[in-house]
Symmetry: C2
Subunit: 359 residues, 2 copies
């Protein structure tokens, strides 16, 4: 198998989001990554202070790149990965490309990360929502967070039946074979309808990390056969306090990089997601520990926003301190996080959620 991925995401000169979070780890795993940049910025938007807007690609500019590659026989990836798409023009170019590749490449594996927003807020224009819905039918795997999933299906995930309805809609109406809900906060309300085994979290034996109260649920749902319901796997993940950028981009890249459908010794999606969770969590723990050492990074009892308001230089300093520590992490990446874990950390595998559809 030729290990080639065409990755279409954002570029930042400093730090690790978009293609900068995806490329290096995939290259470590032996993937030959072709990199198309949808935007060209100095740094991610969390820094807030910007000298200008950098450059967002237009749809025409993306098409020039795709056509240039195609003319030279370079547009034949075995896999496609798409992330942040800045505008409808780029979205249309990506949709055309995804349809073309789906038509000409048998067994194309396309991981679509529908980057729409997080924590209840959209960070793309509203016209990207129908565009992502149109992209869904070309995808092999999608990796929405809970907010993106709610946005795509159009209703809130406030009950187990709503969660069932959302997965059913994606698998059946939008014909997505594999759905990964990357992070569903285990709120007190949700904890009442989740199996107890999912809400009792074991935290990795790592010193120097402040944990959030809520854990996160990761769900992998594979519909291997159109005549039956999907196989659902889950994993509860302890959540590190504070916001870190690029986590979803790294996670999605690692799901794709570890996905080997031909190996059916275990559920291929659940195996890939487990490897992606372990890798991402190990990088995050390393990042959290390193960032906590930066002077003035945290003061108990104050929120980041309060501390940022008192010191205008704090926010960029905090953002820089929280950039993912991908560099120097070849071992973590190449072992899918195992090099950074102790045996009893509870990240060994995802659990089948056997009565998801019937319970």
């Amino acid at each position: 198998m030729e290990k080639s991925i065409l990755s279409i995401q954002s570029h930042v000169s400093h730090g690790f989001v978009g293609n900068r979070a995806a490329t290096f780890p995939l290259q470590i795993l032996g993937w030959d990554v072709d990199v198309v940049n949808t935007v060209n910025f100095a740094n991610h938007s969390g820094y807030r202070r910007r000298a200008g807007d950098g450059t967002k690609s237009t749809g025409e500019q993306l098409e020039v790149i795709f056509n240039g590659m195609n003319q030279n026989g370079l547009l034949e990836p075995s896999r496609l990965l798409t992330g942040y798409i800045p505008n409808g023009g780029c979205g249309a170019a990506v949709l055309n490309l995804a349809r073309d590749l789906r038509g000409k490449t048998e067994n194309l594996i396309y991981l679509l990360d529908p980057v729409l927003g997080d924590n209840g807020a959209l960070y793309v224009a509203a016209d990207m929502i129908p565009l992502y819905r149109a992209l869904l039918s070309t995808a092999t795997i999608i990796t929405p967070n809970w907010f993106e999933l709610e946005t795509l299906v159009g209703f809130q995930l406030d009950s187990l039946s709503a969660l069932r309805k959302a997965l059913e809609m994606l698998h059946t109406e939008y014909r997505v074979p594999h759905v990964v809900i990357s992070s569903l906060p285990i709120t007190k309300q949700r904890a009442t309808w989740l199996p107890t085994s999912l809400t009792s979290l074991s935290k990795p034996l790592t010193e120097g990390i402040t944990w959030a109260e809520e854990g996160l649920l990761c769900i992998a749902s594979s519909r291997l056969d159109s005549s039956s319901t999907s196989e659902v796997y889950t994993m509860a993940i302890p959540q590190i306090k504070g916001y870190f950028s690029g986590v979803g981009d790294l996670f999605s890249a690692m799901v794709l990089g570890h996905y080997y459908p031909e190996d059916r010794s275990t559920n291929p999606l659940a195996r890939a997601v487990c490897n992606a969770v372990r890798t991402t969590h190990a990088i995050l723990r390393k990042t959290a520990i390193a960032s906590a050492r930066v002077p003035g990074a945290s003061r108990d009892g104050y929120t980041d926003d309060e501390l940022d308001a008192a010191d205008v230089d704090r926010r960029p300093r905090r953002m820089k301190a929280r950039e993912l520590r991908l560099i120097g992490s070849i071992d973590i990446i190449s072992t899918a996080g195992k090099s950074a874990l102790k045996e009893d950390d509870g990240f060994e595998q995802m659990q089948p959620w056997r009565d998801f559809w019937t319970g």
Copy 2:
């Protein structure tokens, strides 16, 4: 020491030239590389066939990125690496940046690869020549090939005294502390004035490679003290037949990545250049062997141009087959090529050229 490099070079979506050749290997070596792209193309120019021109950055666009980084405290690299600069506007922006960083960062190490052309032909506009001359005084290390060196100094390297004069001009007039001539073909004419030890080449014990008749001389010249002449080191390198893109970009990145001036156990520049030669040569051998396996890649007795003319699809196929095999080469890169060498291959170290200035 914070291992940070700001790298300003070209971006291609497929293949490995410019930043795409420099970033991954430097990241493997543990360098946190900030990446500013001077152009955004589908592939390198050797493919010839292009759907459009892609996008070249303007000077203003580069300044937006630099200013954006600066406002967020992200423009404080310990090292700077520059390669292909597409136009005078970008050149002026890079010159301003290099002067600013030189002024504010004590001990800034700036490796300037004066990308002007190769094999006797310019591939930048002529107005880049004075711009590169202006950049020279801000550089710590420069890595011209023989053609770029001739272009910068304005005369041909047709005698040992011309070579001496060129190095003297760069060290004294342009005040460049460290000059690396990456590749000087050992022509029959030059072989008459080079020491015999440099012209008797041992070739690595690698099967499946076609060697060119001429070897290449690599020269590292460090002027550590303004009151004396430089220390000159050399290494003769067997040349692999055929043209491979991105070799100079990889070489320059590896010189910078392996340069540790504080370690004076051996000449720091000679050690870095030796590591860069070994890494680059090992990647090239791997690439040459892999590309020779591509069907129709070569036919004895015909030149590439003749074969390309008979089959319009051959050139892009050949270019693709000759992309540097950086992926899957973590061992080669992290051991500076030692993992791919046998003990008697003659790549152990550079030789001091003791009578260079007096002989």
